[in-house]
Symmetry: D2
Subunit: 425 residues, 4 copies
């Protein structure tokens, strides 16, 4: 049994295996309230069926750990290499991304068997002596699955939003609350270090750490709320080209967008679809699911701007890492006004909404992707994307860092993305 | 129980109810070997998820029978009126057709409950006195479900064909056979009656029956085979614009089509995807899944032409109705060379492949759609479609008629459509 | 000189040459008020720049007469074979249709030189003995250029309509007039002959003449007016799916069409763009530039229908051919209420607006396209098109016939197309 | 006359007016060899007809100088405000960009009259006392017209390339030459100033000047040649996904791109379209018309990278400004190997090809767009664009600066864009 094998691992392997198991279990917990039908659907090319995420995260371990390092390993199904490869050209060709929602087989049950088979073999692998590089790949695989856990939740939210029955995955029913004042915290700027400098896990795009020069700046102490965003909507923000980036205005027109994603008027009141169903909009909650274009237009409307990624990171370095994140009963951004967090200078750095920065996603000076397939993990996306900092209410706990660089195209709305404003001093 | 109620029906109602039950059971039998995951996927806007077909056929009975005629009937779920309306503007707005594959809820189980609920209430309805018109609507609903049974099978075949695992629904493994000679049968033409003239069920588009004048003509006694179509492919048929209708050539180029649908080369041999999986192409089987453009180009290549719908119908009137059609263990076009059919003059009129005609789908002289919603059943599609005659290997038994007018756009390939050639005398 | 050569022709050649010259001059007259800039623009793939029409009509004579039949003929420019081939695959590949508006060279002047060169060589050709078949090709070329003359005017109207300066090509300023009553003329139907039966020029698609059986029917004695169409618009005709063919409603939605082409509201009054500029809509004028979808929806709204092509032709056979058509000072549909035409039973059969029929464009029984390239003239378009009968205010005079079969896809709006209603008796 | 008015200007106004006249004349000189037909065509939404450029540059002076500052000024034509507004939402709505090629009127002659009218009134304006801000707007207008002069030439090259006659605008016939070795120049990095620091004209996006920290780096002393790029092509560079950014590979596939823009094989030899017609590819000339994706893939293939904008600017600051640029007889990138430039450390910084940088186009710290319409000049494009440095062979002389920030989307190919490689030290 897996338990037997676990007992024979050395303690470092055991520790890693515990984290592996914990992460694998979270994937199972996420899908537990869902039906097989829910796991198959794909609402757009950018999103994937949950079943695909479940299989692909196992494919990652199979491809990068089991096939190269477990002697005698027999692949679960030879065509999975093709079916569940996301974008690794070093590994081989990939099934067409936009058609992932057409793949009813393997069934959910078969994918669960695949997951079990991979778990079993990872346990065997960890009873063997392994190089540091191999263990690093396992840690990468764990973090990779955590990233896909966030995507499972954003993707199913997007898919469910097309259903007039508005299915719910959680049962979180918050009440109206008072809105905290929007305060500003000043920072001196100057020469500062950016990028990951510790000894733990981090993605390659977080390094090399390097100095930067910053002018003085200030950041809003909390995220923009639904109420504030509604003021923008009511003021004609979505109809005024003067507020928008040129590409943003073209995106708005081309897609006939007139309000934030998931918002809809019902009987004269704004509602929005949440993972607990369709609900009246609460004024005090953080505005969420905004594209970079919307975030930038909102900031323009206020006469402010969005932070750079360096500004955000420098400010975050001065605060302890707040370990909020995914709670399966909530799945909704928090307001950061609970007593614990109230002492923090900047609220909602983590675990509420990702925060758009005005920084395009570019390599840090001296960045070199790893050789081989895992070198495709981050580097090849460094074009036409904006950096997001922090983390969201669907980011697994323990997955946040000040140096973390998330990235999405400027039009992406379906992630839990919000606005922290910045300004020059 | 339904059985109790059945006993209280008068015999005419009983008879109809038996046919109702038989048809409803066939839908259940069709999906029996499938998994819930299979029932959700939609491969293109023209196709629908099988789950949607299961629900929509029930919606038809609920909307046109139960709601108007069963006093006190309570709809199963109020939003199903919107979700499972296909195209009846008289009934109300419809959920976006191309997004049907995003609807994971209601689940398959819930749709089965919906079906049971409708069955139950139809049984109740039939214990009451009902007008002729109401009974006709019930018969229309039965025939409507039969049409959707054919679509369930063509739609799942299309969806499965995108899966590199090539899932199978049946296990039909035919062997190579000799190919019957292609003979021609002559017909004198002259003044002939066209359209349905009996007293049984028929769709509104089959009438009014009316006389037409035809020149003499001849028809091929069997359908074109895979082997004959392969000759066309090998001769560069898909690369020669001189053989194609102008729209057909544009369709070929615009979609980069170089061989028939479901055909693929593997190790130097043509294979095709069937509902029993990927198989080597058998030369003697009827060529299938051809668009009108392909059928017409093939006929051009032979120096022949396709029949008109009148020619086909006049010829078919002279033969007994052959009751071949859907067998769940086969799901593949038959060759018409079994002893029973060998006596027939024209082979494979029914139950193998639908046969394209050169006739555009137009109203017969004096055609008037029914008033109200069911008037939308056929009439509003009388533009940009070609008539197909006969029936196919996935048409339920008992659903074929010489006067039957099936219709699809010229580019449609995913139905079981083949070629019967015609020529002037 | 051409005059010298003309004198040496025999009288049959002379007669044909006179018609040739007359037609060629009309093309020059059409473009006379235009600027070089106007002749280059292409507003959509379905339309062509006028310069292209001028060159292509010359290409037709060069390709089908001069190259094969004039010994020693040297092509004007070798690449014109490719550049000005419309769709003749027998001749060779064609420059991409949608890019015709990118071809600034040859300039207008060079195209005029090309035209002169072709004229010159045609004159030479006609001094030689020529077969009947060759003379028929010349007559085809003349009729071909007439068809393109109509297209020059419809295409430039479409292109000019995008210009907010609304350029004018004519100066026709009609005044409001009383509207003639809409009367109906009955026809007995029965066995009737359809198709061209004379000895003059006709297109291949007008034959073979053949008998058809028609039920009794009636036709409106005049075309539908702007005022009547406006009633349809005001009654929400463009917003009511119940009136539209399924494809028509999809076309309306997909293109956000809410009123007839070229109509626009200005200061609370409907205006429309005409070839004499933007003008207030006159109630009594024939409604024009309607797609088949719009024509059919209008007829539905009236509880009537459109005629079949046979009905229209049978009715037209009973009236003398009315030689109205293109007047360069008008370029706008006439009302048919002038004294001369008032005696005719059916007004506006010709020279006002083409009249949509409910007949799809199909081959007549026994139709065989000519062998070789000119066989591509008509036959390959016999799919997805509706037949139009009559002719329009931009059809050159002398180009109309009762048996004429014009054809366009159901969505086409930019031709001068109107509505004559029909009904069963 | 304009000459009379010029004599009454004060000397500062006179100087500016001389530059104004010089720039206006260059626009006339550019179009001198072209025909009216050439000036109307638009090959893609990103490009504009030359006639539009001629009018729009005049519109700029009319809108931002004459209307606000010349008392009693009467606009030339009221609808030009709409027709020739490019993207200034402060000014008002704009004619649809992608339809600019449909505007045949005003004719070329009328646009020339418009230009003369504007010139005339600018001369009058300059006889009046004007604020510094107004004079700055005039200088902006001059630089704006220079930018459009470059676009006129890139846009007509793109449009001409669709013509199989390959029209020529110049007659430049270079010969093969030896290829200079590719050397590298090292730079120490450290804290450096970036951005415009002088007192002359510069665009708002070049400031504020600010310090940056750079690691040591090196730059190639010349641009990549056609021969080197051909090695990449021959090595399968366009078929190997491992070399490309993710978006770049998608762009390649989606547009079926297999070689550089304007390249085509003829009789086994690479040719490319130039503004002197179709010519055999010369190995020693700078590779040109590359997208950022192609430039990046080439650098990957070499194991190198592209420079950042800061690296390029720091290196360029150490060299005198080389005033090469547009020569109407050449219109083709130079090789930088003439004796004069050979002494420069870095060849071809200016006047050959724009040089892609890996820097996304973002605001400099503290950047604030001007208030009002001219604030739309640069700021609203700061998303989804890459910075290009230097200038090209179609950049007007005197328009280059080390701090100049040109920007285009990563897929843009039709500008004269090449590759200068960089690497870490
Ligand atoms: Fe992944
Ligand atoms: Fe249906
Ligand atoms: Fe033509
Ligand atoms: Fe401009």
């Amino acid at each position: 049994s897996i338990q037997d094998r676990e007992r024979t691992m050395d303690s470092k392997h055991q520790q890693l295996f515990t984290r592996y198991q914990h992460t694998r279990k979270l994937s199972r917990d996420i899908v537990e309230p869902l039906q097989p039908e829910d796991l198959v659907i794909q609402s757009m090319p950018d999103a994937s069926p949950i079943k695909w995420h479940l299989a692909h995260t196992s494919w990652f371990f199979e491809t990068f750990l089991l096939k190269p390092f477990l002697t005698g390993y027999r692949p679960f199904q030879s065509q999975f290499e093709y079916l569940f490869n996301s974008y690794y050209n070093h590994v081989g060709p990939q099934y067409l991304r936009k058609n992932r929602g057409l793949i009813s087989r393997p069934t959910v049950t078969e994918v669960q068997e695949y997951r079990q088979y991979v778990d079993d073999n990872i346990a065997t692998l960890l009873t063997r002596p392994l190089s540091e590089a191999t263990l690093n790949l396992l840690e990468l695989g764990i973090n990779h699955e955590q990233q896909h856990q966030e995507l499972m939740l954003t993707d199913i939210k997007h898919a469910f939003s097309f259903n007039p029955l508005f299915p719910a995955l959680a049962d979180h029913q918050p009440q109206p609350q008072p809105i905290a004042a929007l305060n500003w915290q000043e920072y001196a700027g100057g020469e500062q270090m950016i990028g990951y400098r510790g000894t733990g896990f981090h993605f390659d795009n977080e390094g090399p750490a390097h100095p930067v020069l910053l002018p003085p700046f200030k950041l809003a102490t909390r995220l923009i709320t639904n109420g504030e965003l509604q003021d923008f909507v009511d003021d004609g923000g979505y109809k005024n080209p003067l507020l928008w980036l040129s590409d943003g205005w073209a995106w708005l027109q081309g897609n006939a967008i007139a309000q934030p994603l998931y918002w809809q008027q019902m009987e004269g009141q704004w509602h929005h679809y949440t993972l607990s169903g369709l609900r009246p909009l609460l004024q005090h909650e953080p505005a969420c699911h905004l594209s970079y274009y919307e975030a930038d237009a909102y900031a323009q409307w206020c006469g402010k701007r969005l932070p750079t990624e360096c500004e955000w990171e420098v400010a975050a370095q001065q605060q302890p890492l707040d370990n909020s994140g995914l709670h399966l009963g909530r799945l909704h951004p928090h307001c950061g006004t609970d007593p614990a967090s109230a002492q923090a200078t900047l609220q909602q750095l983590y675990g509420s909404c990702w925060q758009w920065t005005q920084s395009a996603y570019s390599p840090y000076p001296g960045f070199k992707p790893a050789t081989g397939a895992v070198g495709e993990y981050n580097g090849k996306f460094m074009c036409n994307q904006q950096v997001l900092k922090g983390s969201s209410c669907v980011t697994p706990q323990g997955h946040s860092r000040a140096s973390y660089r998330n990235f999405f195209p400027a039009h992406a709305q379906w992630q839990f993305t919000g606005i922290r404003m910045a300004d020059d001093v």
